[in-house]
Symmetry: C2
Subunit: 462 residues, 2 copies
Amino acid sequence: MAYFDSASSAPLHPVAHEALRAALDDGWADPARLYREGRRARLLLDAAREAAAEAVGCRPDELFFTPSGTYAVHSGMAGSLAGRRRVGAHVVVSAVEHSSVLHAAHSRVGEGDGPAVTEVPVDRTGAVSPQTYAAALRPDTALACLQSANHEVGTVQPVGAVAEACRAAGVPLLVDAAQSLGWGPVDGAWSLLTASAHKWGGPAGVGLLAVRKGVRFAPQGPVDERESGRVPGFGNLPAIVAAAASLRAVRSEAEREAARLRVLVDRIRARVPELVPDVEVVGDPVRRLPHLVTFSCLYVDGETLLHELDRAEFSVSSGSSCTSSTLTPSHVLRAMGVLSEGNVRISLPSGTEEAEVERFLEVLPGVVAGVRARLGVPAAAREGGATAPDAAASLVVDALGKLCPIPVIELAKVIGDVPVGGTVTVLSDDEAARLDIPAWCEMRGHEYGGRNGTAFLVRRLA
Amino acid sequence: MAYFDSASSAPLHPVAHEALRAALDDGWADPARLYREGRRARLLLDAAREAAAEAVGCRPDELFFTPSGTYAVHSGMAGSLAGRRRVGAHVVVSAVEHSSVLHAAHSRVGEGDGPAVTEVPVDRTGAVSPQTYAAALRPDTALACLQSANHEVGTVQPVGAVAEACRAAGVPLLVDAAQSLGWGPVDGAWSLLTASAHKWGGPAGVGLLAVRKGVRFAPQGPVDERESGRVPGFGNLPAIVAAAASLRAVRSEAEREAARLRVLVDRIRARVPELVPDVEVVGDPVRRLPHLVTFSCLYVDGETLLHELDRAEFSVSSGSSCTSSTLTPSHVLRAMGVLSEGNVRISLPSGTEEAEVERFLEVLPGVVAGVRARLGVPAAAREGGATAPDAAASLVVDALGKLCPIPVIELAKVIGDVPVGGTVTVLSDDEAARLDIPAWCEMRGHEYGGRNGTAFLVRRLA
């Protein structure tokens, strides 16, 4: 088996395993108690907090342990927004934040005088522009949020420059560092930072919330005396100890491991388009996480692709609509305006061997070809080809009720049937078509003429 | 070492240890993913949910895993209150609920049209009366909460009768079963139930929230697709697996172990007042948790007592004011109207040996006597004694600025200096005095004449 989905959850690091085992024996008691089991637990908790704070780059009394990264995001945003209530209720986020950030931002809209949300757009690589981000800050902006690096395409965000803009505007910046904290600290003058241990090989059940001194913060909901009144409930101490120990361990290996995985990912980025026709590799090729790469395959349905890769013993994830419960493509791919069909995200865990990546590159072309063949995608259709002399100048393809990737396949099948300059109108009520028909036009060199309800207009240019 | 504080947190059960170890290898992946590591995690999660639901006595789709018992209480109360917003915002709780319930109830007061809270009083054993509880239900009551058993004194609450009253009034009842779920299911027609794994020997980081089908429930705060939209964030699957496995294990041992510990606790209840003068054993002697007993020692300061017992290798907790960060006595003891000074809670973990209890009974009298001697409590003062013929009919004792147990000790020292029928006025600004001076009067057979500001009036009767 090759598990290539560490961005979703990483297997437990051996150091985490060892620390957890030890802390289960020594750290099960309540660290607030005065007897020796409690004092022992308190020592473990204090040491874990110091280690985690050092890795984050903050003071121990600025760092709080939460039950998950999502909890850290939700409580960090809620506390920060409440602390700045007098300033206003406007929130700025990038359009490609993790769903926990977007949920927290949007869940408040409409709640009394809850905040309006500005989603800063990204370019085709998935990055925000610091200028665009700065322009979104308003006098009533209570909080700005920006991920350190994107979880679906690996693009690193310009956090330092955005932090400067936020500082100039007097707006606190919350950085979701879930994908990058194992690789290194987040530079720049952030105000709040969140992370999740199971992303770096720590155990599930531990998130981090750092709140810089001086940042206005009013914890929301009922609290108790735990975590300085920031996070109520009995803490998960053995897991916290393991999280801190493994963060320290992965950091000590980070430079070497990042260089090694970066080479493997570069190889995937270069080879996949050579080996598989009609593939778009997305995300920034340089300013990116070392271990993560995403590509999309035209005329392929993501769920089947994942299933076939799983049969071939590769575990990967996908942002295709067919792999989501809502049948909508990933909001990240949508914000980037890139193809979503046949989408594959590969995130290599630490220790991934070169041979596993080579085997993936051997297996992938056959798997994609197999899926395409079963969907009835003729090679010729994908090429356009010569047009019959008596071809109609416009055609209509009815793909209503058909899901991704069928509307795009039907379009590709007939584009050669209209002359250059002619048009194909695709009727589709599939959510993914809104993203994938324009992306297909971009990839194939045709003109996308826009959408009118369920009708997508495409003009053949080549 | 003898750890006698399982009501605070129990050491990990061997079955939990074993299950956790296995699940760390098999259950680290995201159970929402389609590849085999994800499917394996999903199977583990489903099996854990079924096992926990069976132990709780509900359907698997009525049971949700949370990051702690406190989280289960907070989110269960918030969701239930929001779901019944149209009915009203009034909450009924007992006065001796766990602080998480009281915090959640009171934290909403004043928030817009937030709920008023009725705290149902308890008798001297710590139990609510079903009639009194029923009388507190109003047409605008959105939620009623009652613990299955008290965490500080072990008294079992009449949940079945209260549940009937709630059902008759159409009010959902949330039962906090944190202290009792390891011993058995909660009888009665409850609507919501909460519990915490580390109380039964499961790992920290796992709470349970059961919400019966048909109960109106609107999850609060941002949600995601986890736990049917009830609990956002990546779940702590290995700990969940361990929690469910250990719940099943402790249940299979519960009947035998309860009978065994009940005998040991009965011995403590009977022997401590014989061995130590001026002790009040509190809580219901019969309708109680099998493993928990609490007593208070006159003229003793709880913090020193805990410290001395720790030196003697016994780990216990206390509801005395001096052991709390706020220097107020336990709200449970206060609601019961019983003595809070020198308070000791003993909660025996499963497997506690008879010899450990015997050693405790050997050690305790000397420890208490030592603390009393250091506080300068003369044995004669504790007895009252004959009065001089020329004694003043009233005395004033100035204990302002003195903390528990000094005001009561000063009172005891001079009560023999006034004749029977005479009065002592104690000046005290200590929070604990409000509870402990009346409790002392009750124990010593004197008349408590009430309080006027910082002046407490006591009339000698014996």
